[in-house]
Homo-oligomer: 148 residues x 2
DNA sequence: TGCAATCCCTACTATTTCAGTAGGGTATAA
DNA sequence: TTATACCCTACTGAAATAGTAGGGATTGCA
């Protein structure tokens, strides 16, 4: 498992906010109930996303969390990096041996893996996710559920 | 860091064996000294690779480990899966909610990430790594080191 | 024949991360 | 003024990580 619940829960929750973009704040309680995620745990994830400027908050009754940017300005990569840290495959085992990096075959592999992940997560925004979800729904005609 | 030392050390060591393919066994001691990896720890990694049929062993003096298959028949993915387990991004949070998988936007993202990683690691063999290393060496003309 | 090199196997351990829980505090709409 | 919501810090059990320790079994070679 290369992603922990931090990234998995966090992305789900961020997507939930993006689906409510422009409609006012969404409370933690709603999101945590909807997905069965611990409220307090999710709170800690949102605190990080707020610190990095991706979400804003409104306190008091009818308050909650909302995106601080447009869904098309927030990538999956931004969310995952905030919550999981930089996506890397390898620190060098040994700095001295690794000064020979130009001939390090394993390093090349690790860089390819990193690049392939980053290519995916940096090129999908929350808005893209929403579009894709709509497409899936349109195609799956006997899927009775509405966007939920 | 999406790979632990298991996969990182193990791939390095497997590559070392592939570089000695056809030249007899290589001892743990040599490999662990060369890369500064704990002998006993590496031993445990090799035990897994042996169990999965990727390497063979020769006991006694001048013994050691050697590839059980041709370098072109062992992919990076085989080695990494043996040592790290299946590369996945997400078990479903909640099986009930996840029965709605067809409209789960985050799931689509996670599948894309998984696929991009697997595309890389399943399409590079140990033989490919060796070829690539030779190319790098040929290009870097003022690189004085030999393949080491 | 014996010894040293080598792999084989199991158990133990310190540290860190994960996935939360607990329990208070502060702002604010109604 | 009160209930609703976010804010913040500290704590915790369980698991994984990255090894260490210490024997045992083979076997090539002198």
């Amino acid at each position: 498992m290369i992603l922990s619940t931090k990234g998995r829960y966090g992305l789900k929750a961020a997507f939930e906010l993006s689906r409510n973009y422009g409609l006012g704040p969404v409370s933690l309680k709603k999101i945590s109930e909807k997905y069965g995620i611990s409220e307090s745990y999710l709170e800690q994830l949102f605190a990080k996303l707020k610190k990095d400027g991706y979400i804003d908050t409104v306190r008091g009754p009818q308050g909650g969390y909302l995106l601080a940017k447009k869904p098309e300005e927030i990538t999956v990569g931004m969310v995952l990096r905030t919550l999981e840290g930089e996506i890397t495959t390898s620190d060098c085992l040994n700095k001295e041996v690794c000064s020979r990096e130009s001939i390090c075959a394993t390093r090349v592999i690790f860089e390819k893996i990193e690049k392939s992940i980053n290519d995916v997560i940096d090129n999908i925004t929350l808005a893209d996710m929403y579009e894709e979800q709509k497409n899936i729904l349109t195609e799956g005609k006997n899927e009775q559920e509405t966007l939920s």
